[in-house]
Homo-oligomer: 220 residues x 4
DNA sequence: GATGAATGAGTGTTCATTCAT
DNA sequence: CATGAATGAACACTCATTCAT
């Protein structure tokens, strides 16, 4: 889920409310201001509902109840339960990236960038514990977006690693395999130290893993 | 999911058919040989059904149809859909461990062991693609077993790393954090190169990650 | 089941259709007129279905088929099979009381009132043979309403008897025991001469029992 | 449920264990002593199971579990769930009659007999609270035996009343209507003061009702 | 006779989606 | 746009009954 150095934020990504609505590519574009507010309310309610109850336990009526709108209004903005879910996955996916990307870009070199990526990812997760419940459940609800999310993320990591390699910041043979390994580490560390328990600080985790990534665990 | 060096197989783990049945702690113990066979058939059918359709799409009648038994027979051995699922997660969890453990133990040192663990894990996954669909879906269906599975696995990795540290085979400061990172890498690499695509050989992946784990990715 | 003299009808009790719907305290209040009609149709259909087949043989689909609505509509108005049943018991209980109460109040004295109560109760039962099947089955389906129904009825009879005693219309020592005895007589006579067979006229039964109640069966 | 003066006990009715088995006309006669014991165990267990859970909640497996025999053994002795239930209704019906009949016959006259009948009926009920749960549920499970039970009981009461009338112990015009009234009173008083609560002694109830039956409730 | 595994018909309940108002 | 009543497909689970051992 973390993003990486060099990424550019599109204008839409840095704004507040409108972003999520636009990110909801799955939804039907509202024409009035009133409609925009209703759609936003539904999307926020859906994050709560899916986050608390999971996709299958969640219900459309639960979403509209939380949003304070009538059941039927849901279908004014989304075609189906799957559609909101997809919109939400994309929304959350963008949120992580938008949060972590600038902090990665600010790092002096790629190893520091990876350390920062993990650090801020864990921090973000602590404040958004519904993240895993939503993104990971996509594996079963909408494999397409799940696959897309991780494939895209891994690809970006790989590109940055290779760019860093040409700059001499990392070994020359870094590949997609390394990217997947790094992504896997981060996801599991976020789950363990972000969601499950906060018994180790994000800084400590990032420090430890930064070291391991840089020089390995072979005895010196 | 991979296991690690030094682990001892209990007698039950190395047997074939009876093991899975005994692992099905959730089920109701059959009292006759015929019952034992029926239960095994149901458990195998459940692996297929859940693997192909996922927990929510799967149906009890689908399971019994595959198993070639009557619908009602399901309830002779399991209390509910959740109960078979739990039994299955434990069953599969044990299967991975039983497959990989001896190969890890055969490694000359801990770094080689980690390499072997990843190698054989990916190989195992290629032959059991339903693994992820089942174990990962537990996060949503039965968080308890999901948590237990990964917590237990991480703890074992951590113990082996620390034992290896005292033997001087890895750095002295290896910790739980390293264990989670290694587990995360393996799980994602298994997903990418075991389930999604076989475009890179398990040997190549294991070799690459073995190197990274040993000496890191900092430029030499 | 019969009611007694002196009772005041509340406005809700004397109206026709709305009453039963409001009596259905178990149901979910409809918000539109269309909803009100659907709920009433379901309640009426339930009386038929439960009356003809009994609680356990009755099916929700049988109820909705009779009501001419979709299966799912049932759950728009009632939470469960038990819930309609409870609503129905209350509905029927109120119907008897509303029918008999004014006729009891019109009697010149308490002995005449008891006679009238029995008379009109038997008559009512003849036109509503599903009454017993529904109210008495509550003993097994929903003991709470069964108990409430009879406890309340007995208590009212007792109160009227005591009020009559102070007016000198009956013996001074009438008690709860007499009330239960009278209620028991009425219920069984209603069953025998209202539901099972109409071989004796309600008038004759009421006359006979009126006499017995007044002066007993000891030889003069 | 109470019986009345002058009734003759058949030999089978006064024996202990064998009686119930023979009363189980619905069952299949066991040929061996072992079989006789098994059948008795099943019948006793059925009384418990039906008494505690009611007909529909009761299960054959619940009965055999209580009886300590295998599920299949049930069908060695009874054809169906309905069949045990019928056997049980008859069994209990006979038990009440056997208990109350001799005490009724011992009374000096018919009014005293009715008083005694009610008294001992309530006492019996207090020791056999499953009575109502079983006999009354027959109205819905097996209307035939329900009807038979009450029709027979009422008829006997009527006959005794008429015999007493010829002896001058009660009014000359006693009829079936009186019999049903008396039976109804007794059943409801048994329910109220035998099963629901024991707040009034059976003696007091019988005394009160004996008086009412003899001289009515009109002011003197 | 006793055992308990196997059978499968039957039904209450949920909820995404549609549509008349 | 908003509303909420109406729809009906889909499924887990129960349990009386049968029968091979």
């Amino acid at each position: 889920m973390p993003v990486e150095r060099g990424e550019r934020a599109t204008p839409a990504q840095v704004q507040g409310h409108d972003r999520a609505v636009s990110a909801a590519g799955e939804g039907k574009a509202p024409r009035t201001e009133r409609g925009r507010r209703t759609m936003r309310a539904i999307l926020d309610a859906a994050a709560l509902e899916f986050g608390e109850r999971g996709f299958h336990e969640a219900s459309i009526s639960g979403i509209t109840r939380r949003a304070g709108v009538a059941l039927g209004s849901f279908y004014t903005y989304f075609d189906s339960k799957d559609a909101v879910f997809r919109a939400l996955v994309r929304d959350m996916s963008d949120q992580v990236r938008d949060h972590v990307a600038p902090l990665i870009r600010a790092a002096p070199d790629q190893l520091a960038a990876e350390r920062a990526g993990l650090l801020h990812f864990i921090e973000f997760v602590r404040g958004h514990k519904e993240l895993y419940r939503i993104i990971d459940e996509a594996e079963f609800v909408d494999p397409e977006s799940f696959r897309l999310h991780y494939a895209t993320t891994a690809e970006r990591i790989a590109k940055r690693l290779q760019a860093a390699a040409t700059r001499g910041e990392v070994r020359g043979d870094v590949s997609e395999v390394h990217a997947w390994a790094i992504m896997g580490m981060n996801v599991f560390l976020g789950l363990r130290y972000g969601v499950w328990s906060e018994d180790v600080s994000p800084e400590a985790v990032a420090e430890t893993i930064g070291d391991m990534l840089a020089t390995g665990i072979a005895p010196r």
